[in-house]
Symmetry: C2
Subunit: 347 residues, 2 copies
């Protein structure tokens, strides 16, 4: 069935593969406003637009049940999808949840998973409206689709940034990645000596960012309150670099961001230094922070700077100036996408 | 993480598990018309209703790549979801496709899969609007969500059958199951002696029904043309018995169907007899036919009987008379759900 002399998928990478598989798709329905290529698809049902996004999480690739509690996993599985809907400047309303599990899992285990799923639904005001439940050959798989709603003129895409726009991020970056590194380190310690207790105290913030992230519903609401509509937006699931490059290549523009403006929490810096990783690298390439990266028109700068939860980190430039990071030293380095790549990770 | 003394999932079965996991779900959004519990969810966006359904297919559980061509698999993965949308008397419009593959698969293999996906989209006028692509630890996983559209008064649920309604099925039943049995038999022969060529000629019909099923868009259109709106409807993915019991228990009614009225193709009967299985058992419990099972008001009988693609097989009775099959011999037997159960199959 599979040609052993064919092209290996890791050569293409996730984005290359998606591009290849979705090329030549011609949209046929007038109700399909936006198909593949943003955080979510946009569909027209009557007056309102319906936003659809989907994510698949696989044990051993996206999560490790040796340190991820099932309830947290359920919560996070929902949140990562809601984050995609908010990144369209829309309100998530419903989800479907499909799970596949091997017979290693008990009903009580699934109850825990669903407790987390339902907690996220409760917190974000979402209805669980369907799904599929089946058995797997190995491990646990979770596939969630989220549906959201927006007025047609509210939707914000990723390919509409303009030259001179401010580049902003919500919250802080790199925490989820350092949290993951800590969990991996303690797992290794435990494997070597099962009597060792994991040293997690004092690191609650980065652990929570990894295990129980939140989607930035509050930022979307704040922007609405101050009547600032971003010119482009994306959520940060793969790391700041990768997402910013999506905005720039999609919009046909360049960018210039400043290392010293990238928001990084003290706990993240402390753990990164303890592990001998550059905190900026964690923020640029770490991923899984589920913060929002967006651009706003320069005229909105005054409104934005009042909000402590939003950091301007640079601005959009002409395409021919490239994608640049101005380091603390004053040196300019090209931004490259080294985001988390599920296709490469599992080689 | 998993309690070894917990409840095993196979004790509950798929429907028991779904019921357990989705209990206590309180719908919060006024736009959620129907959540868990039918072929698809029904959501309100503006004037129109949006129908959402999702299915997960897993290598080794739902398909066997040793005899399923990837292109057919892609086609079928789409069709099974569209079938759920038609079963709501709605028109499918968009799908999202998430796939996970191990590094055993090449790009060329995924191209084949997507050829089938795109062919189904082409044939049914569907837009592929999004998805997720990732790596798996083992094998291939496909999770598809389909979205459809309907006017609010067009939607047909499964829990609205009325006493005295006629019970009808489209097409013929049991073919997909005998097709699967044939493929499994020839696989076994091939394993024993790889020089043996599989004997598939003369059985094209049942093989196609298994490998490349179609969703009954035409039946939905026919019913519209003759202005017959079913009183309840479901698609037959798990076998006639299981689906009819869903309608009856959901509607709080009983049923009486006649063995000699159940439509079974000559090719299905021939193969069933060759394999020493009762053809009626194939139709009742085989599954994967993706025909429509629906009830219509008695007054519509004359309209229905003109359509050679629709077979009346019995009628709805009061709940206290139970669920009955009148055999060719005249004997009455209780109908039981022994549909295909993905949770039990992979023990």
């Amino acid at each position: 069935m599979q040609n052993p002399s064919g092209t290996s998928l890791s050569e293409l990478g996730e984005f290359g593969l998606i591009k290849r598989l979705t090329q030549n798709i011609v949209l046929k329905n007038s109700g399909t406003i936006k198909g593949v290529g943003d955080d979510a698809a946009v569909l027209k049902f009557g007056e309102k637009y319906c936003i659809v996004t989907t994510d698949m999480l696989i044990e051993g690739v996206h999560f490790d049940l040796s340190y991820v509690p099932l309830k947290h996993l359920g919560y996070k599985s929902v949140v990562v999808n809601l984050s995609d809907v908010y990144a369209m400047n829309a309100q998530p309303k419903q989800i479907t949840v499909s799970i596949a599990v091997s017979n290693r899992f008990t009903l009580e285990a699934l109850d825990e998973l669903y407790k987390g799923i339902k907690l996220a639904c409760e917190k974000y005001g979402i209805d669980l409206v369907g799904g599929d439940t089946t058995s797997s050959v190995t491990g646990m798989l979770i596939s969630i689709t989220a549906l959201g709603e927006a007025e047609p003129d509210e939707i914000v895409y990723r390919n509409t940034a303009k030259v001179n726009d401010l580049i902003c991020v919500s919250g802080d970056l790199g925490a989820a990645y350092t949290g993951l590194q800590l969990l991996e380190r303690e797992k290794l310690v435990f494997k070597t000596n099962p009597k060792m207790q994991p040293e997690l105290t004092g690191n609650e913030y980065i652990l929570e960012r990894q295990l129980k992230p939140e989607a930035r519903k509050d930022i979307i609401q704040s922007l609405k309150n101050i009547k600032v509509k971003p010119t482009s937006m994306i959520d940060i699931s793969d790391g700041l670099s990768s997402e910013l490059l999506h905005i720039c290549t999609g919009s046909g523009v360049g960018c210039r961001i400043y290392e010293d403006k990238i928001p990084i929490a003290p706990e993240t810096i402390k753990m990164a230094e303890e592990m001998n990783i550059d905190p900026t690298t964690c923020a640029l390439n770490g991923g899984e922070d589920y913060e929002l990266l967006f651009t706003v028109s320069l005229k909105d700068h005054d409104m934005i700077k009042e909000n402590p939860g939003i950091s301007p980190i640079g601005y959009i430039t002409e395409a021919n100036t490239g994608y640049n990071l101005i380091a603390r030293s004053g040196q300019t380095a090209p931004l490259t996408a080294q985001g988390w790549n599920a296709l490469l990770k599992n080689k």
